[in-house]
């Protein structure tokens, strides 16, 4: 399936065109799914059909959580990776400490911490349940992304920087035009791994009362005592979401694959 979608496009389309088309199509599928999924679900028997709207809302919250934390997490990951590979020791210490703490503690504890413990320390940081979940998920995925991106940065041969610098490119343009695009390509598979994990881990937001997909399922189950259809429905929706996400990430991977090495 992951390869098939790339072959549906006309044979004379280039790599970039196919990649763009796949991303656009997957984006449209995702939006349609979030917008219209309640309609076909309403045909299902109880307890799914009568709760179709509720499932659709939970799915939208799950996707929002994931999208926000994914974007923030990649930015945090880039910054932390740069910190950890910095020449300046204090930056390395800060980045290493952040990664050490986040990777060494459970995500559930982090979610609970941001929501319950942070306002105790700093009253101004009394965040809503949704915002708290976003913050905790972003920080969490950011730490894992940092290691993926750092590996990518270290994998770019030293000669690339030497060539760029010897052409007179500033350190900034050397990073933007030469190092980062190559590092990002190398980091992409582990980054996608992290974001797929993030989509599923966003379910932990239910612990602080965010009404996302898992929480919706739990609430309906508490009212109907029918775990089987409800958990099957939740799991199927997660599976569809990760499938769409994988399609998008495959398309991104192919966009960077100038050598045609991705099968």
């Amino acid at each position: 399936m992951s390869q098939g979608s790339f072959r549906v496009w006309p044979a004379d389309w280039g790599r970039q065109q196919r990649s763009s088309a796949t991303m656009a199509a997957a984006g449209v599928v995702l939006v349609l799914m979030l917008w219209l999924m309640a309609i076909p679900m309403a045909w299902a028997p109880e307890p799914i059909g009568n709760n179709a709207q509720f499932f659709a809302e939970g799915t939208r919250v799950t996707v929002q959580l994931t999208a926000i934390a994914a974007v923030a997490g990649v930015l945090i990951g880039v910054l932390a990776a740069l910190g950890k590979t910095s020449k300046w020791p204090p930056l390395r210490w800060v980045a290493s400490a952040y990664i050490w703490v986040i990777r060494g503690t459970p995500l559930l504890v982090q979610v609970l911490f941001v929501y319950f413990a942070l306002p105790v320390m700093i009253p101004a940081l009394q965040l809503s349940d949704f915002t708290s979940a976003c913050v905790a998920l972003s920080l969490n995925v950011g730490a894992y992304n940092a290691e993926a991106i750092r590996a990518g940065l270290l994998a770019v041969p030293k000669g690339q920087v030497e060539a760029a610098r010897s052409l007179g490119l500033s350190p900034w343009f050397t990073f933007i035009d030469v190092t980062f695009p190559q590092a990002f390509k190398i980091s992409l598979p582990p980054l996608v791994n992290n974001i797929v994990a993030l989509l599923k881990d966003s379910s932990l937001a239910y612990a602080i009362g965010v009404v996302e997909l898992t929480n919706v399922g739990n609430r309906i189950q508490a009212a109907t005592f029918q775990p089987l259809p409800i958990l099957l429905t939740s799991a199927t929706i997660y599976l569809l979401l990760t499938t769409v996400l994988t399609q998008i990430s495959n398309a991104v991977e192919r966009r960077f694959d100038v050598e045609g090495r991705v099968a």
Binding site: P157, G159, E162, L167, G168, S170, Q182, K185, V258, E259
Partner: protein
């Protein structure tokens, strides 16, 4: 000497003055003093580990020298980023491993630095790049990515990429050492053609034919020192230095 040596009559284009360099306990450049004139083709030869590549790399600060002074076209080689970028845009460098940017097409490789550093508009940079690619015989490959080219073709793109910045001097760090034998010639031909235009070139190489035929000067580096600095006919003719004779004998075999 070449006829174009008159370009910079105020003095040499590059001056190397009492330069020392250590890698840990290894003293790789020992009090090196030399100079390179505008329009001159200088070839640096020497055994592996003698410090010849290091000397070349100190000229554009890819290696830091520990003491002494290096002045390139009036700019002292130092750590000031602005000065260093200005210096580097005047000094082209070609590497043993080509170091083309694999994620960019040939044309993008050649236009990147002019567009970013010189702020040349895209069309102008591309027109200039196509002209240079034509000169190195690769116009037809402009829209390919480096992986699709042979080693010799990649090295010729690397030369075009450096020339796109219109440098005052070109440094070559063993430009043919990573190439299959049949590709060495195509790269050397481009370099010969470049020398004929009066470009100032400093070439670290093991290609004695090139040194003999094209260079104005041959510098032999031995254990971090310039052991000999002579015109090629003198250097390859009645060589009196025992160590250089042995070296040349080993290379010839």
């Amino acid at each position: 000497m070449n006829t174009t040596a008159a370009v910079n009559q105020g003095g040499p284009l590059i001056t190397v003055d009492h330069v020392n360099k250590h890698f840990g306990p290894a003293h790789v450049l020992r009090d090196v003093c030399t100079h390179f004139n505008a329009g001159e083709v200088a070839v640096i030869i020497g055994a592996s580990g003698s410090g010849k590549s290091t000397l070349l790399r100190t000229l554009n600060r890819l290696e830091k020298h520990d003491s002494g002074r290096i002045v390139v076209d009036g700019i002292e080689v130092c750590d000031d980023l602005k000065e260093l970028d200005a210096l580097r845009s005047e000094v082209g460098m070609v590497f043993q491993q080509f170091n083309l940017f694999p994620h960019l097409t040939v044309l993008e490789n050649v236009t990147l630095a002019p567009r970013r550093v010189r702020k040349t508009p895209r069309e102008q940079a591309e027109a200039k790049a196509m002209e240079l690619l034509d000169r190195v015989g690769l116009k037809a490959h402009a829209h390919k990515h480096p992986f699709a080219l042979s080693g010799g073709q990649q090295q010729r793109v690397a030369i075009a990429r450096s020339l796109a910045m219109a440098p005052r001097v070109m440094l070559f760090d063993e430009p043919t050492s990573a190439l299959d034998p049949e590709m060495v010639k195509e790269v050397l031909d481009v370099m010969k053609q470049l020398a004929a235009t009066g470009m100032t070139m400093i070439v670290v190489t093991h290609e004695m034919g090139f040194a003999r035929e094209v260079s104005d000067r041959v510098l032999f580096i031995d254990q971090g020192r310039v052991a000999q600095d002579a015109p090629p006919d003198e250097f390859f003719g009645a060589q009196r230095n025992e160590r250089i004779r042995t070296f040349l004998g080993q290379i010839a075999n």
